[in-house]
């Protein structure tokens, strides 16, 4: 029983205890969960240190499924990539747990909530620590389940229940491809363990397979199939629709699952399989552009939304797009680096938003807020820091990771240049909408009702402390990756080298300066614009809204993705089910035959019955006729 096993196991134990006995502990049950997560956090720290010293842990606990040549075990692979994920997951999870103590106080499902959180932590840890695809898949689905539970936590609200279901099913679409990818991997590589897979990759090198007529390189196909999973989990186009609705869940959940950890699993997957992705140009391009376009789309949507959580959610989507963009150009390290920093400042944003909601009594519309900085200074300060960080103001975490990505994208040939362009634009938009939130929420005068105003207060310590801790993260997290240009050692980049490699840099320092300058410029520009529109000239947004009505409506309706899916997938399926299958195939055709034949026989019987007239002579005729027929037949066919 060694300590690595404890990392996922502790939360699991916490879950089991709480789900069974939570009722008895009533509002004390959070201690169990927090202790459990804290435990695994500490162990993860130790592990991280070990890994940092160059140790890589990879071993099987027990063999899970054995069927013929199909052998998969539950096991751990803890390398640099996993280590960093462990830190992210456990730390953010821990803080969110603490935060929830205050946030969820007095809720009936208190124990339920904490046990779910524990379960999620467990699943997420299983996901990142697994040393084979199937265990990854296990964690993959498990975190999906937890998000289903937690999104639908307020299951009495129809919207919440729907959102949970939607999240799960949309993810299933992604997993559909992912699963097939797993099958392909097994069929062609005959193993699901990472090390063996990467060792055998050369087998599929250059192989092609015929899919619906067109020849596709096997690596490309497998990579893309796996990427399907990533798309679903990380809410990339076209499967991003669930994340915004996921905000129905309690805010801590959004912070933990839909910002910091679960949604980044896709990035983790891609990074984990970088050797495979590196084998296929096409796959890389697809990844890069999916990321880029997603981030652009999400950012544009975020511009016009009024629901504070949704805005943050879309910014999450957009940041995830950034990470994929990074992976797409081969800068896996940068991607994971951004994942690392993003975890903190985005979690901070969410929790801040949560704290705002807490104060506003569940009010989410930023149009109905304003001037909150007086009432809740800590929240304001931390929120501001996080926004600076995400906007990419130099010195803060977001700046370094984002800059790394943009710079490496710029490096990566023509396609790289294109995505770099998009990335830069997105950077500007990000700065804009983040500060739109800031200005509308914390500046100006309060626009809500009086009783809300009366109710306003700073959140309790259990909530503000995590905010402050996360703020530290949001500021400092980037310092592990200061590029050499700015006098740093890009420690983390080198840390990742053994697992993720590092794209070779061709461009000059001048270009790098240029990239930095541009990104800073757009960031500041974004902030400035926001300030102009929401502080100095509050009328402007309305005017613009009217001026660009069509664009505004499209953005407001999130490019009509939900409607599209509703009309192309959901409704047709239900229609076919009820009209065709139940109505026609089952009821008419099959049942028709099943019930028709007996009925036919019955009717025939009724007819036949008429022959049995009860009149003696008719019977005699029958007999004579029988005799006659037999004789004639026999005589006809008889040969002397």
């Amino acid at each position: 029983m060694d300590k690595y096993l404890l990392i996922p196991l502790l939360p699991l134990i916490g879950f089991i205890i709480n789900i069974w006995f939570g009722k008895f502990f009533q509002d004390k049950c959070h201690w169990i969960s927090i202790l459990a997560v804290f435990g695994s956090f500490v162990i993860s720290l130790f592990t991280f240190v070990e890994v940092a010293q160059g140790k890589v842990i990879n071993y099987d606990v027990y063999s899970w499924v054995i069927s013929g040549n199909f052998k998969v075990s539950i096991g751990f692979l803890i390398d640099q990539l996993t280590a960093i994920m462990l830190i992210v997951v456990t730390s953010v999870s821990l803080l969110v747990h603490i935060y929830s103590v205050g946030y969820m106080h007095g809720d009936t499902g208190y124990y339920r909530f904490f046990s779910y959180l524990n379960l999620f932590t467990f699943s997420m840890l299983m996901l990142v620590t697994g040393n084979n695809l199937l265990q990854l898949y296990f964690g993959w689905e498990a975190v999906g389940l937890c998000s289903y539970f937690l999104i639908g936590y307020y299951f009495k609200k129809e919207s919440a229940a729907d959102a949970g279901k939607k999240a799960f099913i949309v993810n299933r679409f992604g997993d559909f491809g992912f699963g097939i990818g797993v099958f392909m991997v097994f069929i062609y590589l005959e193993t699901l363990h990472y090390t063996d897979i990467f060792a055998n990759l050369h087998i599929i090198q250059g192989q092609t397979i015929n899919v619906l007529g067109l020849e596709i390189g096997l690596p490309t196909l497998i990579a893309l199939l796996l990427f399907c999973g990533a798309i679903g989990k990380s809410a990339q186009l076209p499967l991003h629709v669930w994340l915004a609705d996921a905000m129905e869940g309690p805010t801590p959940v959004s912070a933990l699952i839909h910002a910091a950890t679960m949604v980044t699993a896709g990035v983790f997957l891609v990074a984990r399989f970088n050797p495979l992705f590196n084998m296929s140009e096409t796959a890389m391009l697809v990844v890069a552009f999916t990321g880029a376009i997603t981030s652009l789309m999400a950012a544009t949507i975020a511009l016009v939304q009024n629901d504070i959580k949704r805005i943050v959610a879309y910014s999450t989507v957009s940041q995830l797009g950034y990470m994929f963009l990074a992976c797409g150009v081969g800068a896996y390290g940068a991607g994971i680096f951004h994942l690392f920093t993003h975890a903190y400042f985005k979690a901070l944003l969410f929790l801040g938003a949560g704290s705002v909601m807490h104060a506003m009594g569940g009010q989410l519309d930023i149009q109905k807020m304003g001037g909150l900085r007086k009432y809740m200074p800590i929240t304001f300060a931390t929120f501001l820091l996080a926004s600076f960080s995400i906007a990419g103001i130099p010195g803060l975490a977001g700046f370094f990771s984002k800059d790394e990505i943009l710079w490496l994208a710029y490096n990566a040939g023509i396609s790289g240049k294109i995505v770099w362009g998009i990335g830069t634009v997105v950077a500007g938009l990000t700065a804009f909408y983040s500060f739109r939130v800031i200005f509308l929420t914390f500046f100006g005068k309060f626009r809500g009702t009086d009783e809300e105003k009366h109710h306003l207060h700073e959140s309790p310590g259990s909530m503000t402390i995590p905010l402050m801790l996360l703020a530290i993260g949001a500021v400092t997290a980037g310092w592990v990756g200061i590029p050499p240009l700015l006098g740093g050692g890009n420690w983390i980049g080198h840390f990742f080298e053994p697992v993720l490699g590092h794209p070779n840099v061709t461009a000059t320092h001048a270009e790098e300066w240029m990239v930095i300058a541009i990104s800073v410029a757009v960031a500041v520009g974004g902030i400035f614009t926001a300030a102009v529109m929401y502080v100095w000239a509050p009328g402007l947004p309305l005017l613009l809204g009217r001026a660009f009505k069509p664009i505004y409506t499209v953005l407001w309706n999130k490019y009509y993705f939900d409607e599209l899916y509703d009309y192309t997938i959901v409704r047709p399926t239900k229609w076919v089910a009820s009209r065709i299958l139940v109505g026609v195939t089952d009821a008419k055709i099959i049942e028709g035959i099943v019930n028709g034949v007996p009925k036919m026989i019955g009717e025939f019987g009724q007819r036949l019955r008429k022959l049995q007239t009860g009149v003696l002579q008719h019977y005699e005729i029958g007999m004579a006729l029988g005799f006659f027929v037999i004789v004639s037949i026999v005589f006809i066919f008889f040969k002397q």
Binding site: G614, V615, A624
Partner: protein, 100 residues
């Protein structure tokens, strides 16, 4: 010398006449008579056979046939009487309580 076939054909003709009558007549008594007719036809053929085959089994069989015919007549008429007591008809086709 009359060939055997003539006798047999004669008996067959009478047999069939009896049969036809049995089928087409409504009156039960006549139907009974028709049965007697058919039996007699058979007897005729049997006697003819036994004569031409120089063998007496046929005549023995006729002997039994007559016995059976007598018994049948008795029972048939008894049934008819019983029936007539309950329902005063002697037309077979009027007696169709049970059908279907």
């Amino acid at each position: 010398m009359v060939p055997l076939e003539w006798y047999i054909i004669l008996s067959a003709v009478i047999f069939v006449i009896g049969l036809t009558g049995f089928i087409v007549r409504r009156n039960i008594i006549i139907m009974l008579i028709c049965i007697e007719l058919m039996l007699n036809a058979v007897n005729l053929s049997l006697i003819a056979f036994s004569h031409y085959l120089q063998d007496l089994k046929g005549q023995i069989l006729v002997f039994f046939t007559i016995t059976v015919a007598a018994a049948e007549a008795a029972i048939g008429l008894a049934i008819l009487v019983a029936l007539y007591r309950n329902k005063a008809v002697v037309d077979a086709d009027k007696i169709s309580e049970m059908k279907g």
